[in-house]
Symmetry: C2
């Protein structure tokens, strides 16, 4: 038999409601009573039933993480951070990987409404899905945006992608590179645009003309990095001395192509990525990249949802990134 709140009440010699007050850290309980109840709960190994709480109150102590992200390390990092925040407050995390398409089905809406979560964390590219945001508003479910295109009215957690790309470009410029290639990310991800902007601004600030020939499209996949690199490196006369890929997977593609073409990295070609995935350390040479505090972002997002006592907290929370300089970049030869 599971112990219930009445068992604790009996043990502590108080009413059920007082126990409830203590458990929820509500005021208006004498300190002595509070201690007695806590002691009783401990000795009975009592822990409140989530479903009963959820039914009686408005909170379910459940958060959902909805995502459509192909990168396992991104996803697990984010999950890890969110989980940590949840643990601290007795919350649990439900994960709902879902394509944008699945999201549009009526079942998705049904699922979300029956779930009765206290909040939802939205990551790219779903966080930029207006239909989804509208649906959540209609269902009256609060949500936090992680790294969206535009902040919007909901609380938002971001890093400054533009600034990070700019600093990374500056770093390579500082090493003496003049012809720096750039591989864009998937057009539907907001960060792609911001990173591109940062690259352009850095060049501009140094008075280097923007050359479209040095920019290749990509979609964040390894394969697209390979294709982009093949184009960028095709002509030995005009090829760049450095390539800035918008994420590590694509940077790995560049390294792979360079290897096949006999172009030494970093001797003849500097390469850098973005995200600092595990891959960045596994590659040889180890990849210079930008570390996003992905776990932190997950944690922050969950915290916002949990403390949404403010009722909205429509702030934008910008977390710090970090340039990680490893072995794939150096001053150009000659």
């Amino acid at each position: 038999m599971k112990t219930t709140i009445t068992d604790v009440a009996r043990e502590a010699g108080v009413s059920m409601k007082t126990v409830s007050r203590v458990l929820n850290n509500e005021p208006n309980v004498a300190e002595a009573t509070r201690e007695r109840v806590k002691e009783a709960a401990r000795s009975l190994q009592y822990s409140p039933n989530l479903a009963a709480r959820g039914l009686a109150s408005s909170r379910s102590y459940l958060l959902a993480l909805i995502y459509d992200n192909p990168s396992p390390s991104y996803v697990t990092n984010l999950q890890g951070g969110a989980i940590e925040a949840c643990r601290k407050s007795g919350y649990h995390l439900i994960i709902e990987p879902m394509t944008a398409e699945q999201l549009r089905s009526p079942e998705a809406e049904t699922m979300l409404s029956r779930l009765n979560v206290d909040g939802v964390i939205l990551t790219p590219p779903l966080c930029d899905d207006i239909d989804l945001r509208t649906m959540l508003k209609r269902l009256n479910i609060s949500y936090v945006l992680v790294a969206p295109e535009k902040p919007g009215r909901a609380p938002t957690v971001i890093i400054d992608d533009r600034m990070a790309a700019r600093q990374m470009t500056d770093f390579m410029l500082g090493q003496g590179h003049k012809r720096i290639g750039f591989i864009c990310g998937h057009a539907s991800h907001s960060s792609s645009h911001h990173r591109m902007e940062g690259y352009q601004q850095a060049l501009e600030a140094k008075g280097i003309a923007y050359d479209p020939e040095l920019v290749a499209k990509g979609d964040f996949s390894f394969r697209s990095g390979v294709e982009a690199a093949e184009r960028l490196l095709a002509d030995p006369q005009t090829r760049p001395t450095a390539i800035f890929a918008s994420n590590d997977d694509m940077a790995a593609g560049v390294v792979s192509v360079a290897g096949r073409m006999g172009i030494g990295v970093p001797e003849q070609l500097s390469v850098c990525g973005f995200d600092d995935t595990p891959l960045a350390q596994i590659l040889w040479p180890k990849l210079t990249t930008v570390a996003q505090p992905i776990g932190e972002m997950g944690r922050k997002a969950a915290e916002i949802l949990i403390d949404r006592s403010g009722g909205g907290n429509p702030g934008v929370h910008t977390l710090d990134f970090e340039l990680v300089i490893r072995e794939s970049t150096r001053a150009p030869a000659g």
Copy 2:
């Protein structure tokens, strides 16, 4: 205002209980009534409240995935499979990444008991944690073991690691390799032992003496693969012509060391891994490896928990693996 079961009952002109029967696919409802209720539910966009269901019945429609696995791609694959099975039956997945240490804290038990999940999926190395299994039994929470050391009494989902390692070793033997190195996985993972056994059995079957000098310890990390390879490849006279690493990360370590030492892969050294993580395709050369149906395993585990109508289903479910031959293996030179 959310629509409840009474709204549907009113709309369909039946009692609440009949609606409940229809929703849960219980017998003893006239077909006409059943249809009418379904129609009413649809038109009202009704979906049952999870918390209320969980409170009134014994099921919470929640499954938990508890894991302590450092590999993001393993984790997300498993999650993906489990989620698919959950979706089909209106279940949701709660994730609880947790170290073995955290698991031993009293809070972990409290957390598990309050959670009131219908079942728990346990992955290596946690699935071999006797204390955890005992705790779950005490809490009367059913669980499924994914790839445990020994099947035990609980339902179990495995692949035949031993046979897979044996076939992979056979493959290299068939290419003409006589000196095949082996890098073990973490000793606490059951699969480590099984893979080692398969390697040994393959050699034995071909009448090749087992040479401890060709076997190195590892712990599934890239770094440990590097260290193992450094030892295995140290002596040019006696070094193996092929190395079988117990997972892809360690195989990547081997490839990296070989690169540094000027040993061509696969020209002078064949390398293969296990798991077929994304890394296997990103490496250059692409890695020969064993593909585990990790997603399938997650799906199967969730299905077992959901259909636990059998009351126990103490079977062992063995899923198929697949050798993936890529570019990192070939016949030895000479």
